[in-house]
Amino acid sequence: MAILDAQNLTIKFGGLTAVSDFTLHMEQGDLVGLIGPNGAGKTTIFNMLTGIYKPTEGEIFFGGQSLKNKKPFQVTQMGIARTFQNLRLFNELTVIDNIKVAHHLKVKYNVMGSIVQTPAYYVEETDIQQKAEKMLEIFGLEYRKNELAKNLPYGEQRRLEIARAMATEPQLLLLDEPAAGMNPQESKHLMELIRWIKKEFSLTILLIEHHMDVVMGVCERILVLDYGQTIAEGAPAEIKGNKRVIEAYLGDLGEESTDA
């Protein structure tokens, strides 16, 4: 069964149709890339999938359940986690607290339990601490655990954001330009990391990226957007040869690719 089924999504902001008739079908274990020039509507699609925007038309099904009228936190509880294009870490919290926040949706003790500090509170807090430390270890950030998130170098902040999304224990992970601002070496390392977590946690991943080497290297299937329309879909090799894609996107990139 399909894990994600987005059917004919259209969203209009006033007179502007940001995305029209977008359809995406993902099976468990897929790794799909979403590319397109700036302003093509990629992040808007992410915002629809996570419940931040409501699509004007069309419906999204996740694991057979409709996401209609679901608030963003409910979507996360259902098993979709995301990262943001411009980092949105909890800057004034420590690295480990950033991860611990993501464990909140699994917490069973209630507010009263935390005030009177029931045994369940101690047990769960200890569990959260251990799980969070483990997650940091996986992402190689354990030595930073007590530092404030804002004091981390950029590359580590990107990794922390992925770690934080992973801590919600999602089935579907949405990565919005995870390699933005990374140098070639860092993005290569990131590619390996993405492949590894996908295998280790049997994840399904949808990612937006501008670094063509990352998209072509890691994705099994690619969707190309331009002005809100899906103009091509297929394996990396097919996309590379697609005329419309080259016109809309890779044609421009051809000039820039020397510095990418």
Partner: protein, 343 residues
């Protein structure tokens, strides 16, 4: 098996920590009432300081931890003060029950106000809460049951240091435990980035409203104590300036630091009393002191840090001293390095 044992040891460790804290609180109470018990003037100031501690910490919960700018804290205080005073003067219900009912009503009104207004952010929320506090004050000014412009006179003098001290201790205890839980972390996440918090599965509306009405509850409790300390509940006690007074406590103590709020509440209450002999100059010196604190420590006295039980253990002091020294040395070094680099 080992895991179970681990949990047991963790729990006993935490429990013993709680016992030490209870001991410290009782000790502090005994010390204060023993040393100042004979002096009614000092006891009154200490009582007022305890009430301010409740208001400062509850506002810090809303503003410093959840990031919601509330300029109407005195409004919630008024709800508690009026409710408790009316109950005491008109019905002969016990003092504690009156305080509790006042706090409950304040918390409920916090919920009612919070539901629509917490959709607003920053400055907009500030204006909305400010407006709400004015509505409460003007309503009290015009209702018969609240005594109109005369206020409620002849409220029995029931608030003593014992009531104020222990209710303040309980307030601080509850707020600290709340903050140090996953729920508290959710609130801090909302303060840092609401969209990201929501994306991490935090029900932001729920927590904002919860914290708002929790803060209102404790403000109402403090208001009840305040009314029975002054023995008069009057609309002019709950003006906008009163809200600002608690905002000052929260900011001077450090947003996001409960121990900071406690210290600032005590410090500012005493400062304000100590300056009484300067009459006209009083507010100038008080305001000047605030400016000075903000210039020297813009992050507040505690700057988001907490004073913890471990800090009171003399066995750890040597280590702290070393750390402090090292930090100062490295600061000096980096300063020198900069200078060398520049020349």
């Amino acid at each position: 098996m080992t895991e179970k044992l681990d949990r047991k040891t963790i729990i006993t460790k935490k429990m013993s920590r709680n016992l030490i804290l209870i001991g410290l609180i009782l000790g502090l109470y005994a010390l204060l009432s023993f040393s100042f018990g004979g002096n009614a003037y000092y006891m009154r100031i200490l009582t007022l300081a305890s009430i301010n501690v409740m208001l400062g910490t509850s506002l810090n919960l809303i503003l410093g931890y959840t990031g919601q700018l509330n300029l109407g804290h005195a409004g919630f205080m008024a709800v508690g003060a009026y409710t408790a005073a009316i109950l005491t003067t008109s019905y002969s219900t016990p003092f504690f029950v009156n305080l509790f009912l006042g706090a409950l009503l304040a918390g409920f009104i916090g919920l009612l106000v919070g539901l629509p207004t917490l959709r607003l952010r920053g400055d907009y929320l500030a204006i909305a809460t400010l407006g709400f506090a004015e509505i409460i004050r003007v309503t009290a000014l015009n209702l018969n049951i609240t005594g109109g412009a005369l206020g409620i006179r002849g409220v029995p003098y029931l608030t003593n240091f014992t009531w104020a001290f222990f209710l303040a201790a309980i307030t601080v205890w509850i707020i600290v435990n709340f903050i140090n839980s996953s729920h508290g972390r959710a609130c801090k996440a909302i303060r840092e980035d609401e969209i990201a918090a929501e994306a991490m599965g935090v029900n932001t509306t729920y927590y904002k409203v919860l914290v708002f009405s929790m803060g209102a509850f404790f403000a109402g409790l403090a208001g009840g104590l305040f009314g029975h300390l002054l023995t008069i509940v009057h609309p002019s006690s709950f003006t906008f300036l009163k809200s600002i007074e608690y905002l000052v406590i929260a900011v001077v103590g450090g947003l996001g630091s409960i121990t900071g709020s406690v210290m600032a509440a005590i410090f500012l209450t005493f400062l304000s009393e100590a300056l009484r002999k300067f009459t006209e100059l009083r507010m100038i010196i008080y305001a000047g002191a605030l400016v000075l604190v903000m210039l020297l420590r813009p992050q507040g006295l505690m700057g988001g840090m907490e004073l913890q039980l471990e800090h009171l253990d003399p066995r750890n002091w040597k280590g702290y001293l070393e750390n402090f020294k090292n930090r100062q040395v490295s600061k000096l070094r980096s300063k020198r390095g900069d200078r060398n680099g520049n020349t």
